[in-house]
């Protein structure tokens, strides 16, 4: 018996939830960005699982675009963190509250 598709989808779901927990729970902004990378990898697992089910390469091409997008977003986000740390000397998400009432 080969591996059924929903095993891959369950793995993607688990990885996605771990990423969501990381984004919602941690205070450190860098670790929040790393949890977003976990979420993107879960999406990629879904895409390649369906690409294997239908025997095409469309899912894999889309996954390459997701990886490209993750690289661009990580670069911009980390530049933001550097600029933020230069101004406020903190990387905790709940200490960045200048706009709060």
């Amino acid at each position: 018996m080969t591996i059924p598709v929903y095993w891959y989808l369950l793995l993607g779901t688990g990885l996605f939830s771990v990423g969501v927990i990381g984004v919602l729970t941690r205070r450190n902004v860098i670790i929040i960005l790393m949890s977003i990378e976990l979420i993107l990898n879960a999406v990629n697992i879904n895409l390649v699982a369906f690409s294997q089910l239908f025997n095409t390469v469309n899912g894999q091409a889309f996954a390459i675009f997701v990886i490209t997008d993750a690289a661009a977003e990580a670069a911009v986000g980390l530049g933001l963190i550097i600029a933020l740390f230069r101004n406020k000397e903190t990387v905790n998400a709940d200490e960045i509250d200048l706009l709060k009432w």
Partner: protein, 169 residues
Amino acid sequence: MLPQIAFLILAATTLVSAVLVITQRNPVHCVIWLVVTLFSVGGIYLMVHAEFLFAVQVILYVGGIMVLFLFVVMLVNLDVAAKQAQFRRKWQLALFTAVVLLGELSYGLVRGKQGLSLTAAPAVATSEGNTQAVGRALYQTYMLPVEIASILLLVAMVGAVIMAKRKLE
């Protein structure tokens, strides 16, 4: 039998190292565990015969993005942050919400798994490998998204340089 064992080992490695990514106190440890997670996700790609995607994952994600994360973790002095509280004050609510999300998605998947046993398309007996097939798709069908992705990367590069440089006097 052997593919199932390989998949279970890879899935366990992925999930355990992902949990360790979000729970470690030292951010460098988190980056190391994320590297382990990305390698095991690459192993999953190998199991679905996506060899080109495995190579892209290892070179781009692990070799590029994780190195970038490590550089920023080293630039930003996190000794003070490592001694403070690591989790938000109301983390139980976030954990409960995410567990509810996980339960919903898993229930939907397990209940509807008959719908996923579609008749698999017959394996096209071409002589080209996976890399050629993905390259052909990227250059013929997905030419416009490739160009848009290159513009996106250019914009991201310019934006990252502008944000990280010091103010001009």
